[in-house]
């Protein structure tokens, strides 16, 4: 009896001819990248300036913060979770770092700003731990827990900043936001790429990554396989929170201020990037390369629309449409598989 016939009984919709299936997998993977390239060619054809080195680096810099957030979000989404708190967390961690580096004790020291930046990242990590423990210990749905923390973090950001923008940050710190390594590549872009590389490694080549996919695919089966799901699920939220902290510090360096009302709705951009890049909110699917491509698709649309002087209102319409198309694509693909 052949494989194709065997699978027929339960899945008549999909004959699993191996060659075909693997080709489809490749196509599914390539679809977001093909879309990104097509989009770039379109904008390049319409506007010459699009394909200048300066503009491309500009796109990368603008998306770096959201890309780092989206990478963190991918860890949680792959495990069928969600973290809505990351946008507010950017504001809270950015303001915390900004305030700390202005305190006399740290300002007096030459590298005090670095300590403050680390503290900002730690704040993100701790809130990630909080999210993770509530999800795993109290068994609350991630949506609810992080929705609550989203409000808490935004409130705390406003409280610590006394509702004001925090400016006058040390130059050594703000210079990082516009620093170009070797005079060419923006530091923020390098940071994003470094995070992406490490995250890719973590997701594909470590226990944590493998368990993330397994938990997202079937939590109970993973637990019954002897995996400490509480520990690993918590760790995923900590990764997400830590990267949100890093994104907060990057945002503060880029804008040279601590802005308690900033990073508004970044969490949705981060989730959108992951989803456009092929992550499934049902869990078990997603990749760092996909998420990165998803983030760049959004950035290219924004940049291209700006070059074409399309108003921001229509940019939102375009991005919203693409999110729906991406999920629709995912949906059709899933249906084909079942």
């Amino acid at each position: 009896m052949t494989t194709a016939q065997e699978s027929l009984e339960t899945h008549p919709e999909q004959p699993s001819q191996p060659a075909l299936a693997s080709w489809r997998t490749v196509l599914d993977r390539l679809a977001p990248l093909a879309f990104l390239i097509a989009l770039s060619i379109l904008f390049g054809a319409l506007k010459r300036e699009f394909f200048t080195v300066e503009n491309l680096l500009n796109i990368a810099t603008q998306i770096s913060v959201i890309a780092v957030l989206a990478i963190g979000e991918t860890f949680v989404i792959v495990a069928a979770g969600i973290d809505l708190s990351v946008g507010s967390m950017v504001a809270l961690t950015g303001c915390t770092a900004a305030l700390l580096m202005k305190t006399p004790a740290l300002a007096a020291h030459g590298h005090g700003w670095a300590l403050a930046a680390v503290a900002g990242i730690l704040v993100g990590a701790l809130w990630g731990l909080f999210n993770g423990l509530l999800v795993t210990r109290a068994k609350l749905p991630p949506f609810i827990v992080t929705l609550g923390v989203m409000g808490i973090a935004r409130g705390l950001a406003l409280a610590v900043a006394h509702d004001r923008t925090i400016s006058g940050l040390p130059e050594a710190f703000t210079r990082l936001g516009s620093h170009r390594v070797g005079g060419a590549v923006p530091l923020l872009v390098l940071a994003m790429l470094a995070v992406a590389l490490l995250a890719h490694l973590a997701l594909t080549r470590t226990r944590l990554g493998r368990y993330a996919y397994a938990m997202g695919s079937n939590l109970e089966a993973t637990r019954l396989s002897g995996v400490n799901v509480g520990l690993y699920m918590t760790a995923l939220f900590v990764v997400c929170g830590t990267l949100a902290g890093l994104a907060g510090v990057m945002e503060a360096a880029r804008t040279a201020i601590g802005q308690p009302t900033g990073a508004n709705l970044y969490e949705l951009d981060a989730i959108a990037a992951a989803v456009i890049g092929g992550a499934s909110l049902m869990g078990g699917e997603g990749s760092i390369t996909g998420t990165l491509i998803g983030a760049f698709i959004m950035a290219v649309i924004r940049n291209g629309c700006n070059l074409l002087v399309i108003p921001p209102s229509w940019q939102r319409v375009a991005i919203g449409t693409i999110i729906i198309i991406a999920v629709l694509w995912d949906h059709l693909r899933q249906r084909r598989q079942r």
């Binding site: 065997e6 339960t10 470590t206 079937n218 109970e220 089966a221 002897g226 598989q337």
Partner: protein, 497 residues
């Protein structure tokens, strides 16, 4: 019994991309008979029945009722024609009550509002007719699979179906529940209902069916054989197209030292003071009715649920088991009852599934080595004889039998000393069953202790060296291979009832 053929499917052909699923298949169903449809997985049984039910459309062929051609574009059209289908995978709304499920979409109304009193009263009547002991007001999600199946049957009956299709209805029923179901099926047959009965369990087919049609590779291998004129060996030969001499392997048991001992294990209200011991090379069967506590016992030993009291010894040493991790470390493996719900990560490739409890073996300098993983998976695929395109194949796309072999492969790698199989052959075909039996016996022969839970008595009795019978969370008896008969097991299983 009238001999008028009332429902006919003639020359049905159905093609899926790349596969001819049904090739000119004909099937007829008369009023007041049970017509069994058997065949291996992939033979086309479910496809044929889905066409009858309007869930799929045939590419060619005709369906006639009372000689008149009918079109069945969707399941509600089938329902209007008096055709009801009970799927193997139950489709009930878990948050609604039993009665609400029975009348879903056709609730009795009173002044435009749902009349719940009438609804529950009428639902209760159908439930009482089935003698299943269910209340119309119970929530479906609080019911076990067997009880949910009864709800499905009651639902079909409440739709006044003339033709009833049952796809593996006994797959998750205990022996007693099966007998109760058969009583109902016989009563329905007396009442003039035509029943198409799909099952892998040939003993049951011989017991309940009047005629049997065998499908093989999308073609009819035998059409409407009178049941009195056939036998299990003949049916098996027709199904697989070759002779399978022995479904159950014969084995000389050589039990060795004690490998597992359980003392006073309790988890009220499902387990009370369970004690037994298991030896190397021994297959210990657990018999009992649905809800007797067999699955609960397995889960408690494995640390999936925490018992309130009791001690567990592995190879004479007491072990503390608070989680599946502890159990695996102690050398215990649990192959769960429902592989789709809690056995496999269906969306992940085969290789990731088999290494899940053993990820440490795939690590090279702290990182997963995909090469090593593929190698390990490949070895297991060969050892267990999994038929998959490659180790990259997503488990969802494998057949039931191969999925179950993936579960076995996954636990082989842990090198456990105690294997607990909970309903390992549910929903898989004869060929795959035979291979699974061989695997289970091989494990025992290699010195592992095996605990086998099965509601299918012929299987339980043929494989077990010793049978423990549970009833309401207590052990009510122990039978040696010589003592263990269906009657004895059923007697002990019903002690407290």
């Amino acid at each position: 019994m009238s001999n008028v053929s009332v429902l006919e499917m003639v020359n049905i052909t159905k093609r899926f991309p790349g596969v001819l699923a049904l090739d000119g298949v004909s099937f007829d169903l008369r009023c007041g008979e049970v017509h069994a449809l058997v065949g291996e997985n992939g033979a086309g049984k479910s496809t044929l029945m889905k066409i009858l039910n309007g869930a799929l459309q045939a590419d060619a062929g005709e369906i006639r009722i009372d000689g008149r051609p009918v079109r069945i574009p969707n399941p509600s059209a089938a329902a209007r024609l008096g055709i009801a289908m009970i799927y193997q995978e139950l489709c009930l709304a878990p948050h609604l009550s039993v009665g609400e499920n029975l009348f879903l979409g056709r609730e009795p109304l009173r002044a435009g509002l749902v009349d719940f009193r009438t609804l529950h009263a009428r639902a209760q009547q159908y439930l009482d007719d089935l003698q299943c002991g269910l209340s119309s007001r119970q929530r479906v999600r609080d019911l076990g699979i067997a009880a949910q199946q009864m709800v499905e049957i009651a639902k079909a009956l409440s739709q006044q179906a003339r033709f009833l299709v049952m796809d593996e209805p006994t797959a998750s029923l205990s022996e007693a529940e099966t007998q109760r179901l058969f009583e109902r099926i016989r009563a329905l047959r007396e009442a003039g209902v035509g029943i198409a009965y799909i099952s892998h369990r040939l003993e049951e087919v011989l017991e309940i069916a009047d005629r049997v049609t065998v499908l093989r590779d999308g073609k009819v291998a035998a059409a409407g054989l009178p049941i009195s004129a056939t036998s299990i060996p003949e049916l098996v030969r027709l199904m697989v197209g070759r002779e399978i001499k022995q479904v159950y392997p014969k084995r000389e048991a050589k039990p060795g030292d004690e490998v597992l001992r359980v003392e006073g294990l309790s988890r009220p209200p499902v387990l009370h003071d369970i004690g037994f011991s298991l030896r190397r090379g021994e297959i210990l069967g657990l018999g009992g009715l649905m809800g007797a506590g067999r699955t609960e016992l397995a889960r408690a030993i494995f640390g999936a649920d925490r018992p309130t009291g009791g001690r567990i010894f592995v190879e004479g040493r007491q072990v503390r088991i608070n989680s599946p991790q502890d159990a695996i470390a102690a050398g215990i493996a649990l192959l769960t009852e429902d592989r789709k719900r809690d056995g496999l990560a269906l969306g992940l490739p085969l290789r990731a599934n088999v290494t899940l409890p053993n990820l440490g073996r795939v690590l090279l300098h702290g990182l997963l080595s995909l090469r090593r993983e593929r190698q390990i998976a490949q070895d297991l695929v060969q050892r267990v004889d999994i038929r998959a395109a490659s180790v990259e194949q997503v488990v969802r796309n494998l057949s039931g039998g191969n999925q179950q072999k993936v579960v076995v492969a996954k636990w082989l790698l842990t090198q456990a000393r105690v294997f607990i199989f909970d309903e390992p052959t549910q929903g898989i075909d004869v060929g795959a069953k035979t291979e699974l039996y061989r695997l289970i016996e091989e494990l025992a022969d290699q010195g592992a202790g095996v605990i086998l839970i099965s509601s299918y008595l012929p299987e339980l009795l043929a494989l077990s060296d010793r049978v423990l019978v549970l009833c309401r969370g207590r052990i009510t008896g122990e039978l040696s291979r010589a003592e263990a008969t269906q009657e004895r097991v059923l007697e002990l299983a019903a002690v407290g009832h």
